[in-house]
Symmetry: C2
Subunit: 135 residues, 2 copies
Amino acid sequence: MRIGQLAQLVGVETQTIRFYEQQGLLPPPDRQDNGYRVYTKKHGEGLAFIRRCRILGLSLAEIHELQSYQDDPHQPCTAVNTLLDDHISHVRSQITALQALEKQLVSLRASCNDDREVEACGVLAGISEGNMHQQ
Amino acid sequence: MRIGQLAQLVGVETQTIRFYEQQGLLPPPDRQDNGYRVYTKKHGEGLAFIRRCRILGLSLAEIHELQSYQDDPHQPCTAVNTLLDDHISHVRSQITALQALEKQLVSLRASCNDDREVEACGVLAGISEGNMHQQ
DNA sequence: TTAAAACTATAAAGCTACTATAATGTCAAT
DNA sequence: ATTGACATTATAGTAGCTTTATAGTTTTAA
């Protein structure tokens, strides 16, 4: 199959496929006489793997790491689990940070209503004066 | 004051100050005969405002928008409040997405322990087969 | 048969918000 | 005179693509 079909199959843009190849995440496929890339089912699986990892929030570097484990199937999978554990704690700390931020924003928003002039806006005043009661 | 002092005062790097100037977020300061930038208290306040906005997660474009409101102090501050409301809902949807992601990751992690070979790793199998029970 | 539409190729720039590096110039102190 | 701390500009790098430009190929329609 050619790049456009693969792209449609997995739901990405063709440029994204070329980009992954360039980044070393997808093996370079064979070429037709005209230079067009020819993909196999294996490529499709590889690409789908990458996309699912991306949906899980893994970075390209982390995906690369997972692929290196796949290439050596008889080592223990501790490293895989550790990678995931690290990622989970990363996601958790992001959540915590965003929740703290939400609190700050909501309390800032409560310091104003819509019926004022910019000059007297509680939100702008709050930011300007640093009344963001941190943490 | 010169750029280094301003940087230390507000807690940013000198390059960041030049960057904000280049992006039109800080007004270009006067220069000494040798070309060095000379900053006033006003610049300090402007920079502090930018930094507090950044801590609140606002983009440079949003900060720019806020500045344009500040320049016209007698219009109603509805737009400011709307900007903040939009940002709050943005943050909330990020939190929601990350919480869903965390669930997915945790259940994926539960499908494996450390005592397997990569070949039998529940995590890798889960990603490969798309057992990520979405949503 | 030919011309347009659709697909492919490469290379390079753009996006965000900086950070880092390079090469150079200025100033105070030793 | 030279070292050190500071300043200047210009350029590239970061992540993960997306967009644009330019060009060649294949397929479809007139």
